[in-house]
Amino acid sequence: MTLLYSEIEEELRSSVRDLLADRCPPAAVLKRVESDPYRGELLNSVYDLDLWKTLAGEIGVAGLLVPEELGGAGATASEAAVVLEELGRAVAPVPFFTSSVLATRALLPTRDALLGELADGRRTAALVVSFTASPYAPSRGASVTVDGGRLSGTVTGVAGADVADVLLVPVDGDLYAVEGASVRVAPSLDLTRPIATVTFDRTQARRVGACDVAAVLRFGAGLLASEQLGVAEWCLDTTLAYVKERHQFARPIGSFQAIKHRLADLWLDVVRARAAARNAASDPSSISVAVAQSWNAGVALHAAEEALQLHGGIGMTWEHPVHLYLKRAKATEIALGTPGDHREALASLVDVPGPE
């Protein structure tokens, strides 16, 4: 087991980063979240499906977790984690995490043929669980029942459902594939990964196989730590560049100790977030995942908050992209278990029990 990046991972990182620098700079993402000034609704879908096609098809990120014999690249979670770092850095509006990580991981034990279609990016899927569900409360926000192969009920807060061709719905230990349920996008705190309410009304469904939702969510939570690392890194790097250039009192503001010390502390938090993310990617045990989530969620959020504050007034404006990162960071703090949920889980995992 290593906590370093392999050469293959660094190559993968640089192809993803180059593509995103070219096709998905912050200004382009900001443009995608423009809303109608009078109605407050997004003008377009936030997802950049052309970009996704290139990422999935040409770079091949969609099939990383799928074994070669099922049409994928047969890579490991460590490689998917590196892609997530880069997508986090760009708050890229593509369904990698929802389709290629969560939905794919749910399908893997079934070896269903759909995996091949997800792997080459021809189709995308979403796992219909609330993004607020966790390995410890996997059915939070969901009330779906199955009756004679038809699904009824509602799941709130589903990420990636509005961009999915296929919905994968876990019900009572089984996984069902659905096409054509009602997917209603509500205004979402995270502009670059909106959530939707999915409603089934005696909707025809195909049983795909068994599904351990808690295990899928745990796997996802472990990898989400890498996305959070990417968010934190962008915030730190962007803030460093800004405080070196911004002058007040005839000096770069980055020469004031009040600012330097905050950034040194933030850097230290990010260094530890990198170690925690790498550890959870190479050893997705319950402890590693809970440690990475309880640390990295806070670091990403703190980095975004520091970035906003240290940019001063410009950080508070819609035209500066830092708010996209703040919204992503706050949403992922809540997603797949809050830091407090993960710490509570550690109490029994590492035998630090609470009061009797």
Partner: protein, 388 residues
């Protein structure tokens, strides 16, 4: 050199040396066999091997004699030795490294002064050349273990007419020389771990100078970087380090647990764990030959965590007592000490010794993050003209 070759060396060494024989003789032979610190060059107690192979040696020789009073040797092993290795003459390396490693000669550090703490380069202890000797006058402070030491690493001012960083020279100081006076300095723990050292007309031969005249600042940087790596080393095992005694007490005393304490302990446990992981990642980087900037941050994390964990422990135990305030000499630097009260008080020093946390943040900000330094008023002024 790889693991198998190292194991062969150890086996060959053990075939010739009887671990049950004289302890000192065994340790000297181990040094001569290159098994003291394998990453040092051959002839100086090492084999020029990758540093991580030292663990192999330690494992293989786990049941053989060790140095006596190992805690007293930290400054020699961690700071003096790498500096002597980098800047020492052939003769100095031959003279000092072996008895330093075997523990026959204990070392201390004469750097800080009452008027030169964070701003070490402003130090005022003078060394004046007199033929083949230097005459040293001044006062040093926070000198851990001076009362046990045979030698010290010393930085003194040799030229007051140039700006402060340029007029310094690095020496090895003979702690038995006439004019060296060691006085204990009592700490908030009640113990005297460190000392004031008064140097009055101390005569040091020129062959105790380490590095060129006027190059003392650069030599001292080597020492200080090694100190921070040593202090910030961190535990290798999950749940180890300062949090271990707290978790143990937590498990033994369910009657003392509260919900508030529980949440805070879990937070400290997580921070301990991510700090440990980042230390492990740093060690991996170093052994893969990718020295990362992460090292500068380890001591900062370590200081913060130790203080938080030890403060937590006292509160959790609801312990209003203290084991013993008797004024006594410490045998060695010890962060764990006798009990929770001692640990709490001793940890306060962690953010001061070896570079305050504030100075370390400046170092991270300037050297790692590339942020501009504060405007300086003392850079191009001769030392003698600085206000003080």
């Amino acid at each position: 050199m790889n693991e198998a070759e190292i194991k062969e060396r150890v086996a060959a060494f053990l075939a010739e040396q009887d671990p049950a024989g004289d302890r000192l003789e065994f340790l000297r032979a181990r040094f001569d066999a290159g098994l003291a610190w394998v990453w040092f060059p051959e002839g100086y107690g090492g084999l020029g091997a990758p540093r991580e192979l030292q663990q192999v040696v330690e494992r293989e020789l786990a049941d053989t004699p060790r140095q006596l009073h190992a805690g007293m040797l930290a400054i020699g092993l961690g700071m003096a030795a790498p500096t002597i290795l980098t800047f020492g003459t052939e003769e100095q390396k031959r003279r000092f490294l072996r008895p330093l490693w075997t523990g026959e000669e204990v070392w201390c550090q004469l750097f800080s002064e009452p008027g030169a703490g964070s701003d070490l380069a402003t130090l005022a202890t003078r060394a004046v050349r007199d033929g083949d000797e230097w005459v040293v006058d001044g006062q040093k402070v926070w000198t851990s273990g001076a009362h046990h030491s045979r030698w010290a690493i010393l930085v003194a001012r040799t030229d007051p007419d140039v700006p402060k960083h340029r007029g310094l020279t690095y020496f090895i100081c003979d702690m038995q020389a006439p004019g060296v006076e060691v006085r204990p300095l009592r700490q908030i723990t009640g113990e005297a771990e460190f000392n004031e050292v008064f140097l009055t007309g101390v005569r040091l031969p020129d062959d105790l100078r380490l590095g060129a005249v006027g190059d003392g600042w650069r030599v001292a940087q080597t020492t200080l970087m090694n100190e921070r790596v040593a202090i910030g080393g961190g535990p290798a095992r999950r749940g180890g380090g300062m949090v271990a005694p707290v978790v143990e007490a937590w498990r033994e005393h369910p009657e003392l647990r509260t919900h508030d304490l529980h949440q805070r302990l879990l937070e400290l446990w997580v921070e301990t764990e991510v700090t440990r992981l980042s230390g492990a990642r740093l060690r991996e980087q170093l052994s893969a030959g990718q020295p990362g900037p992460e090292g500068s941050g380890m001591k900062l994390s370590f200081a913060r965590l130790n203080q938080a964990v030890t403060g937590f422990e006292l509160e959790f135990r609801r312990d209003l007592g203290y084991d013993d305030w008797a004024f006594r000499r410490s045998e060695s630097v010890d962060f764990y000490g006798r009990g929770p009260g001692y640990r709490y008080l001793r940890a306060k020093g962690n953010s001061i010794e070896g570079g305050t946390s504030e100075i370390l943040r400046n170092i991270v900000a300037e050297r790692v993050l590339g942020l501009p330094s504060e405007p300086r008023v003392d850079k191009d002024v001769p030392w003698k003209d600085l206000p003080r």
